[in-house]
């Protein structure tokens, strides 16, 4: 710009200049040349100054945008607080008239209250998690109910072991199976599957250590080993040194194209029970009570397959999950009247060798047919198998261990306006108790508040 003006004025000067004699011309030329040189020198100087200035402006702009990009964090006293989230869950249930709905043919965990009829809340689940330091992460999940706070999980996990190793310690949900690591708010149905109800109550949690190793392959291969106290059903607290329960297994998983993915696993749990109490009835329906001591071994196989068009589950997706278990128990069983005034087939107390070999499975499919709306079906089936007490079939003495294969059909329909809320309607035809087929209706809500939960597989 400068240059143009100067050159133009130079030309103008030349044109406007008076006409000199020819001999003066050469001296004038040289003067003009000198002028020209001076101007060019000044122009060059100005240009270089301009370049420097431009570079400075550029640098200043960049610095400004960098300052914008990385704003200084505002220090606040709660900046290091753990992530907190709260799950609110409740339901309305319409159930049959029977006082209890105990699974027939199996020794089941005690204290499995049947869901309350009518309106009820399932307590509130409170979760905390944060990195502890560069080496560890910690998490705790508490369930708060009337007059009771239960520690569902409370564990640390390593962050930096590397090479695919992950060590977890404390109380955690075992890596056995698929549904085991899910909390009730992540279930696809209102209630637990019969498989898990029979095997563990709600789920199997360990007080101990878990070591997982992830293979460095494109196929997901993850073996795990857990040692723990073994206090949870089917084991009992035996207050001894060493490990009360050992679980081991592996999971495999991969994608098939962009639209399909799967995970499969096999797990084994070995634990022992000492005076694990049970409640049942004799063949005539008189209540009996007793306990089991001995070994319990569980095999659990799981398979999950998910489909979403192009891997985008937002509008449509389908999920299939199924698990199969086989459990062997052997030891001694004691049995007595629940009420001394109403004598049963166990009157006076009897005890002796007990062994069982039982299995079961569930299979469920959940389809999201339009955004936010899903429907699903689940089938539960348990195989009573062989149960021997005192050398003969246990049904002869204990009626609640009768030769009956429990089953259940469940249909559900749910609506999630966002990933933080679910409203669910479920119908079940429950045939888990012999001779007590029952129609069950549930309406359930699940709300999560606070930190964003994870989209686990």
């Amino acid at each position: 710009m400068y240059r143009h003006t100067m050159v133009a004025s130079g030309i103008a000067m030349m044109l406007a200049g008076p006409v000199y004699a020819a001999d003066d011309l050469s001296s004038i030329r040289s003067e003009i040349d000198q002028l020209k040189q001076q101007y060019e020198k000044r122009i060059a100087e100005l240009e270089s100054r301009l370049q420097v200035a431009e570079a400075k402006v550029d640098a200043a702009q960049q610095a400004a945008s960098e300052a914008l990009a990385t704003p200084a964090p505002v220090p606040r006293s709660n900046s290091f607080n753990p992530d907190v989230s709260l799950i609110l869950q409740g339901q309305y249930a319409d159930l049959g008239n029977a006082a209890s709905q105990q699974i027939s043919g199996f020794l089941t965990p005690e204290g499995q209250a049947r869901p309350s009829k009518g309106f009820s809340i399932d307590g509130a689940e409170l979760m905390f998690s944060a990195n502890i330091d560069p080496l560890f992460r910690g998490s705790a999940i508490l369930t708060v109910n009337d007059e009771e706070v239960a520690v569902e999980e409370a564990w640390f996990q390593t962050l930096g072991l590397g090479n695919g190793f992950n060590l977890k310690g404390g109380r955690f949900l075992s890596a056995l199976g698929y549904q085991n690591e899910q909390h009730p708010h992540a279930w696809d149905f209102v209630d637990n599957s019969l498989v898990y109800k029979t095997l563990f109550g709600e789920h199997y949690s360990q007080d101990g250590l878990q070591l997982k190793w992830l293979a460095p392959t494109d196929l997901f291969v993850e073996p795990f080993l857990e040692v723990g106290r073994g206090a949870g059903f089917p084991g009992t607290d035996r207050n001894r040194n060493g490990a009360g329960a050992v679980a081991a297994g592996f999971h495999l998983g991969d994608d098939v194209g962009d639209s399909n993915s799967w995970r499969a696993g096999l797990g084994y749990l070995s634990t022992k029970a000492s005076e694990r109490s049970f409640e049942g009835s004799d063949p005539l329906g008189v209540d009996v009570t007793g306990d089991f001591s001995g070994k319990s071994r569980v095999w659990l196989a799981d398979f999950v397959w998910k489909w979403a068009p192009n891997g985008n589950p937002k509008d449509h997706n389908f999920k299939f999950a199924g698990e199969y278990f086989h459990r062997d128990e052997s030891g001694t069983l004691n049995c007595d009247d629940a009420d001394p005034l109403s004598p049963s087939s166990c009157a006076g107390g009897i005890g002796g060798a007990y062994s069982s070999s039982q299995s079961g499975f569930y299979a469920q499919g959940v389809y999201q047919f339009m955004p936010h709306l899903r429907t699903g079906y689940r089938y539960d089936k348990l195989y009573r198998g062989n149960v021997d007490f005192l050398g003969v079939d246990a049904a002869a003495t204990i009626g609640s261990l009768s030769k009956y294969n429990p089953s259940r059909h469940s249909m559900m329909f749910d609506w999630s306006p966002s990933e933080f809320s679910v409203l669910r309607l479920q119908y079940s035809l429950d045939k888990s108790a012999e001779g007590q087929d029952e129609n069950q209706w549930f309406v359930q809500y699940i709300y999560s508040l606070g930190a964003h939960g994870a989209h686990k597989f």
């Binding site: 945008s65 960098e66 914008l68 990009a69 990385t70 560069p134 992460r137 996990q157 962050l159 930096g160 072991l161 590397g162 090479n163 695919g164 190793f165 992950n166 997982k212 190793w213 992830l214 293979a215 460095p216 392959t217 494109d218 196929l219 997901f220 291969v221 993850e222 999971h251 495999l252 998983g253 991969d254 994608d255 962009d258 993915s261 799967w262 995970r263 998910k306 192009n310 891997g311 985008n312 589950p313 937002k314 509008d315 955004p371 936010h372 306006p417 966002s418 990933e419 933080f420 964003h452 939960g453 994870a454 989209h455 686990k456 597989f457």
Partner: protein
């Protein structure tokens, strides 16, 4: 002694599982995978965790993703909570110490560009809001250039053996990218001030770059699908301030924008949004070539 050294070498090789032939990069989104390829060339092996047809907000921590992250030397993601629903699970399950947040193997692109639309109010009642700002930064080529500078530095730091290569690639990329931007910017002068409707608030950086004027969003709140009555209200609003086109990303359902397009008689434009969004957007250059072409095409 030599024998001992050798056996240690073999052991450590076995322990790490594989021979480090190339820098193994896990990219959360296809645009970063493409950028890593531009900067790394043959020195890198890159895996894109999502495709252009997937909504990066809604991905599950699939076993295959965990297995890929386990092997990564470098994780390149957008950040700003775009991947909050799945990335933390991958990181904690991967057992890979090199790529944990705070390590040099963990790279978030949003730290190198100024973010737009930082929410004034953080409340889930406002829908899917991102506390640190809108994370869809890849729709402005200037942001790509800024991220490239930072990413090349990180790649050179992790894989110092090939630092010179990454530096060379970065310089040549910046040169070509700068020229490409000049070409795009020369073409898009007509787009300045053009009023548009967007299906999801996914394009603030594109709007900012091209000077597009957003007059409506087809979501009552970010991430919340519109009802017909909401769409009708938007349609009504367009009478007062008409728009020239309605934009959506390739991964989104075409229903809301088609609904509006038919009734307001304006073209619905599906933008590739990221690399792989359509057959023409097969790399970063193609992404912007196609984006610009589609916008200009809709203007005619």
């Amino acid at each position: 002694m030599n024998k001992l050294k050798f056996s240690f070498a073999v052991l450590s090789l076995l322990a790490t599982g594989a021979v480090h032939a190339a820098l193994n990069v896990f990219a959360c989104e296809p645009e970063w995978a493409a950028l890593v390829k531009e900067l790394g060339g043959d020195e890198v092996k890159v895996y894109a965790a999502t495709t252009a047809l997937q909504d990066p907000h809604h991905i599950q921590a699939r076993p295959s993703l965990i297995a890929k992250m386990r092997q990564a030397d470098l994780v390149v993601c957008t950040g700003a909570e775009l991947e909050i629903g799945w990335l933390p699970v991958l990181l904690s399950e991967s057992g890979n110490a090199r790529v944990q947040p705070g390590q040099s193997g963990y790279f978030e692109a949003v730290h190198y560009v100024p973010l737009l639309e930082k929410p004034a109010r953080l409340d889930r009642a406002e829908g899917d809001v991102h506390a640190s700002g809108n994370p869809h930064i890849q729709t402005d080529p200037h942001n790509i250039a800024k991220v490239a500078t930072a990413l090349a530095k990180v790649m050179a730091q992790i894989d110092s053996e090939h630092a010179a290569t990454y530096d060379k690639h970065e310089q040549s990329f910046q040169l070509r990218w700068g020229q490409a931007m000049k070409v795009w910017e020369a073409k898009v002068a007509d787009l300045k001030g053009v009023p548009v409707v967007v299906q999801h608030d996914a394009f603030p950086y594109l709007e900012n770059w091209l000077g597009l004027k957003r007059v409506a969003v087809l979501e009552p709140k970010p991430g919340v699908d519109p009802s017909v009555s909401y769409l009708a209200a938007v349609l009504d609003g367009l009478k007062a301030s008409p728009a020239k086109m309605v934009l959506r990303a390739a991964y989104q359902s075409d229903r809301p924008s088609r609904w509006l397009s038919e009734r307001a008689s304006i073209p619905a434009v599906e933008l590739p949004f990221t690399v792989g969004g359509n057959t023409k957007a097969n790399d970063l250059y193609g992404l912007f070539d196609d984006t610009v072409d589609r916008l200009l095409g809709a203007l005619k």
